[in-house]
Symmetry: C2
Subunit: 346 residues, 2 copies
């Protein structure tokens, strides 16, 4: 396998290092070979070559079998969202250029971490849901700008039936491998794009007769995710709703620092932890590498290598049970460094 | 005072009756006179005259000092979001026609109800926040439609600086009466309308030197609302973000059935509980009238009648402490009917 390695900013490089160690160990055990192809992205790329997703990086990604991604973002860009060059632009450009239209974001619980959830135990126990967020369309990529000498701003949200179909197809397929429940999240009582989403998904139901599909408004889902998160299984939604709801879902489990994600398209998948670049912790060997390591597990699984993925997941579970954890999970007890946890997992 | 009375659907009429009783009692005590002007809305209006917000109703509202609103919505419309006539259309038309551009949605806790929250006690204790949601602009009201023979759908999100200013002004003013903390919620790293929001609010900061303003992305707020709701005070945001976040906020307190709201514009305010029409409970004298009663308190307060509002709030607190509650709050203990609770409060 050729894997593009985009470490990015902040704690990105440290956590990526651990995922590389663990992946190499798994590759060795199962007799694969991984060629890592490092490339610049984020603030690190802006500093080095003036843009967050350079052509050179795109070339490396486009020729790889998958991309393993750390995190991007640096405080120096945070207070000026209209700055000309920003790490986020690189992210959006990359998603579009690599055709990563489906962002897969699971939220699940680890029994040993239930106490960390802001939710009461009986609410969160057993939660195991997956969002499929559309990632290359909608209001993120529609025409935007100003008129009336800057006094009026606009953003256009656009979806085609084909865009909805390809995302929904992944949703139905994922539902078939799980409990066969699919929830389509929209705002069809107000938005025309949502009505297109709903009618498109409705028309696909007949191709997946075993899947039980429900339709819920985004505001209702924002509520129920806090009330009864374990009532959901697979959820599909458009780009902006997905941005908001996946972040909301990520914190309810109490395991946000452990949640991996995948962004999938036609060919090359991208795998990354959902946490950010956490600049305050950079270089201190304290960041939790498990989300990135679990992202590598998703990468193997996406290659169809389920045993390899399982081996990684089991190692992480074991580490959690045996207290081989970084300080964010140690509750004031004994904790280990980022690289020690990585070594142990490997 | 002339108050338009829009009871609406489901439990609307029952809970409105209690708010009328309580308002009349307060009016008597403080020597005011209220003329109630009932008018049709929602599914009830569709059934009677074919549309959810008839001209006749608009006339009554436009000539009133305020509108007291129950709830709208009926299951027979729920499964067909693109039906030609729907209760929601009446709601949007009414908001626009009455210039109700600021939706004020508080989330607070009642000590006796902390246990009902899905959140752990230490997370939710002390929460007392208010959302100001822009209600007559953004993607709700921009041009929407189809092209390419229905294969492509679009919704336009548009904001003018003046729209942002008038909403933000209410936010700054509200912050001045509270803890002087204001959070502007946007997605300025992606959306041009959000950048207009942010720059407009930034430019207004100098007029309110005492208010400490923070800017947060909508996805981050969706997380922090679950993690540390008590870290927020006044939040301002655009229409769609407000729809999602206010619903999310409403359930964290465990007191959703008790939350009132106000929609304000230039002249006439509208006051309504945030809960829906709850058709399953309609006519059973079991619905909790407190959110509607507290909405009447907001109405008095909006007239500048703070003592009157306080009298109502104290009655509600007393009822909660003394167990004079409907079955949703009785925990299997003794409970009372909708109208008994209303009588007691009055
Ligand atoms: C950084 C930002 C542009 C991005 C998004 O909104 O997609 C982020 O919030 C995410 O969810 O990956
Ligand atoms: C019914 C719907 C149109 C409405 C909205 O989205 O504004 C509702 O969700 C609300 O928040 O009042």
């Amino acid at each position: 396998f050729n894997i593009a390695l985009l470490a990015g900013d902040g704690i990105g490089p440290e956590v990526i290092d651990q995922a590389v160690k663990v992946s190499d160990a798994v590759a060795k055990k199962f007799d694969h070979e991984i060629n890592w192809k490092p490339a610049l992205t984020g603030a690190a790329a802006i500093d080095a070559v003036g843009e967050p997703y350079p052509d050179e990086t795109h070339k490396i990604c486009a020729n790889a079998d998958a991309v393993l991604f750390g995190a991007i973002g640096h405080p120096k860009f945070d207070n000026d969202p209209s700055a000309k060059v920003r790490p986020e632009q690189g992210l959006l450009k990359m998603r579009k250029a690599l055709g990563l239209f489906a962002n897969v974001r699971p939220t699940f619980t680890f029994p040993s971490l239930l106490d960390k959830s802001p939710l009461k135990k009986e609410r969160i126990e057993g939660t195991d849901l997956v969002f499929l967020r559309e990632l290359t369309g909608g209001i993120y990529f529609g025409e935007k700008g100003r008129r009336d000498e800057g006094e009026t701003a606009y953003d256009n949200c656009v979806y085609t039936r084909a865009e909805v179909q390809r995302l929904a197809k992944k949703g139905f397929e994922l539902a078939m491998t799980r409990s066969k429940k699919l929830c389509c999240v929209d705002k069809a009582n107000v938005l025309e794009t949502s009505r297109l989403w709903r009618e498109t998904v409705q028309a696909m139901e007949k191709d997946y007769p075993e899947v039980e599909v429900s339709y819920e408004f985004v505001d209702a889902v924002a509520m129920r995710l806090v009330q009864w998160p374990n009532s959901y299984d697979v959820l599909i939604t458009e780009n902006l709703f997905g941005d908001i709801l996946t972040d909301e879902a990520s914190v309810i489990s109490g395991s946000m620092g452990l949640m991996p994600s995948a962004s999938l398209g036609s060919d090359i998948g991208l795998f990354e932890p959902i946490h950010g670049s956490y600049p305050q912790a950079a270089g201190k060997n304290i960041a939790n590498p498990m989300a990135t390591v679990l992202s590598a597990a998703m990468m193997f699984e996406n290659f169809g290598l389920l045993e390899e993925g399982k081996a990684i997941r089991e190692a992480v579970n074991k580490a959690l049970n045996e207290g081989m954890v970084t300080e964010d999970l140690s509750d004031g007890g004994k904790s280990f460094g980022t690289s020690e946890v990585g070594d142990w997992l490997a």
